[in-house]
Symmetry: C2
Subunit: 433 residues, 2 copies
């Protein structure tokens, strides 16, 4: 059973603080190993990739087989059953439509002194997407990363996905094809990140690297940050469900379990104003754990990090939600929009009983790459913005320079930056002379 | 004299590649020292801040003097001459007006199956701004960091600024007041970043930390990233000027020097299609170096990292500009807008002869915190977006769930995430039963 807390309990504050500060993730120190792998790829290029792939993925490839050929992709895609293909295509269309609305607009205007000011957005030229191998090789994550990049206008999008023991996941390749990925490489681990950031004979370097991965991949992303841009380093997944008694305990139990089954370090929390409902949900969770295929993972997550918190009011629930700053937040209450308006910090909010988080994971349209570990206090989920950058523009007329130049000069002198001041002064003198 | 390169020279590609890859910054390895400082602040709070401030800034403060009082700020602000106050206020008003236009809009819509989708933006609750001490203690940087935060709606904005030997910069305090900063602390170095991220008895923790600093500050920001959000880690400043012969060499020389005077590691590059104009600019630079107060710094930067590149066409200039991806880009050509449209990568573009970069540093309106070291390929200058985060919203109706649920179930099963599928199935069964 998970922890049961109640805000009316005198020990609540301490127990809640403990829940928030629980360390859920082991971070093995792999930095030295990763540094060595990156150095090897930079020094030896394809040869290093071939050696490292043989060592870690037990596949021996010649350099010309690092990249999947069109025929290979075609062959793998043909293995996908029609129903799965149709589901992927429906998801891709909805994700594309949602992200197309995120495209920001360029702006240019003339202000009251005649200065022209503005900004414009341009895509990064090339991006790389890391896709894990094995059990965590999710075609849905390919769509969620690749589609925003393509909507943003990224010209070249490369995917790396390891093929342990030579096994490729047809659904991942099909997702790449549907999303418009340009190149797919049989590469995983820190060596894949190094290849994307620095390039080799076969892998052209990119400007931005995104995508989930294990501790080696995360450490490699941290190391190449600066040389290329990276997305967030995601931690274990989380869900917070706020539900009143007018809900089916089964709905809530399965929503909690759909986070818990991801990972033993995942966290599922229910906040409710009805203790009996909280108990009913907990019983439903236990019941489903008897049959769920991933019961071992989900059960560990639920017992170690799960919680049922009973509040005295939905005001308290909103305040706790902001302190938890959950990756996923479901609001199963009479007026979910009103409650949402009172909560500031969450990666994604799912409103009402017909919006299980799993819809958002696959097919709703919004991105499923979301801030974890309370980082929703200051960061956002993946979007087209991750593949765009803004350039500011300004143009002064002689009149605008006359209006602003003297003040710029005063500030430059105050900061003892004489050349800054002179670059303005020489122009003012020209205009006045 | 700086390097002279020409694209028609057979050795150009190698020389240009060398120019791009030159290591301009010493990065002393201060990480162990910074880790110890952060641990000390976390363990001992204010007492650690007092000790570390005595050691590094040679000021002994009681904990109740870590924060500037209103009366102290008042007294310091009163020392600022009227002309400087008026210039700061003009700058603040323009920066505020520019950044107010950046505020993104919330969106909600119903799609063709009746699902309600959208997102909304909310500010981070509290932000901290690091302001360096000594020579690099720039009031303009206070405005450029603090105003976007306040425009975004940050409720509590704390500034830390060291006061070496007890000396405070009145202009910095006035800039804090004009920008609406809520709290100012006499703190610098890694200890200031630790206090902002983790909090002490006197310093409440924040959610986001921005602002420039030395190697210790940069290392501390990297270490607290994840616990709080950070802005970029900025490197030495850069300018690229693309100018044709119809320009005053003096304008261009002073614009180049206004970067070079920042730092011996700064980089100033001129690209021109007229070798004689390039020579004239180089001569003008040398002439100004005879009288410039910061000639030692500017001269070292210009000799070690400066360059004049002669191109055969403005097409070549545009291509080089994208490879350089400069922090600041001035276009002094007949049709600067047309040339700007052919360049993708730059932090800020200054159009035409009356827009010296110094105007952008102080008073134009756009932010002067910009991506350095070629990171304009994938990142943007500071903006209101750095103090906002986006929450996605979705609400399914029963009809929308009927339309999407079966495909979500198929994808969940394909990824072997049974609880995900069941959370959808249980609802579909309810709707159909």
């Amino acid at each position: 059973m998970p922890q049961f807390l109640s805000t009316s309990d005198p020990g609540f504050e301490a127990a809640f603080a403990h829940l928030l500060s629980q360390k859920r993730e082991d971070s093995p120190d792999v930095d030295a190993a990763v540094a060595a792998i990156i150095a090897e790829v930079r020094a030896r290029g394809d040869a290093a990739l071939v050696d490292l792939t043989a060592r870690f993925d037990r596949v021996t490839l010649s350099p010309d087989r690092l990249r999947f050929s069109e025929a290979e992709i075609e062959g793998l895609c043909a293995q996908v059953p029609d129903a799965e293909r149709a589901a992927l295509e429906l998801a891709a269309g909805r994700i594309r439509a949602y992200h197309a609305r995120q495209m920001p607009r360029d702006e240019m205007w003339a202000d009251e002194i005649g200065a022209t000011l503005g900004w414009r957005w341009t895509p990064v030229t090339a991006a790389g997407l890391y896709v894990p191998g094995g059990l965590a090789s999710y075609p849905s994550s390919v769509l969620m990363n690749a589609i925003p990049a393509k909507v943003a206008g990224v010209r070249r999008l490369a995917v790396t996905v390891p093929t342990p023991d030579g096994v490729a996941n047809p659904l991942v390749l099909l997702a790449c094809r549907i999303a418009g990925v340009d190149e797919v490489f049989r590469l995983g681990g820190a060596q894949a990140i190094a290849a994307l950031a620095y390039g080799t004979e076969s892998v052209r370097p990119v400007d931005k690297v995104t995508g989930p991965g294990n501790a080696y991949v995360a450490a490699a992303k941290r190391r190449v940050f600066g040389k290329v841009g990276i997305d967030m380093i995601a931690g274990p997944s989380e869900i917070l469900v706020i539900a009143d008694r007018d809900n089916d305990p089964d709905f809530v139990a399965l929503d909690l379990l759909s986070q818990a089954e991801h990972d033993e370090s995942a966290q599922a929390i229910l906040v409710t104003d009805d203790p009996a409902f909280g108990q009913a949900v907990a019983r439903a969770v236990e019941r489903h754990l008897e049959t769920l295929p991933r019961a071992a993972i989900a059960g560990t997550s639920w017992r170690d990090f799960g919680a049922v918190i009973v509040v005295r009011s939905m005001d308290e629930a909103a305040a706790l939600a902001d302190r938890i700053a959950a990756e996923h937040l479901e609001l199963l209450v009479a007026d979910p929009e009103a409650l949402a308006a009172r909560i500031s910090h969450a990666g994604a909010i799912f409103l009402g009983p017909w919006t299980p988080e799993a819809i958002g994971d696959y097919i709703g349209g919004p991105n499923h790459v979301l801030p974890t570990a309370r980082t929703a206090r200051f960061s956002s989920g993946l979007s087209v913005m991750d593949f765009l950058k803004r350039t500011t523009l300004s143009r002064m007329t002689p009149e605008a320079l006359r209006a602003l130049g003297p003040s710029a000069e005063i500030l430059a002198r105050a900061e003892r930056l004489e050349a800054h001041g002179l670059s303005v002064r020489v122009r003012l003198d020209r205009l006045n002379g």
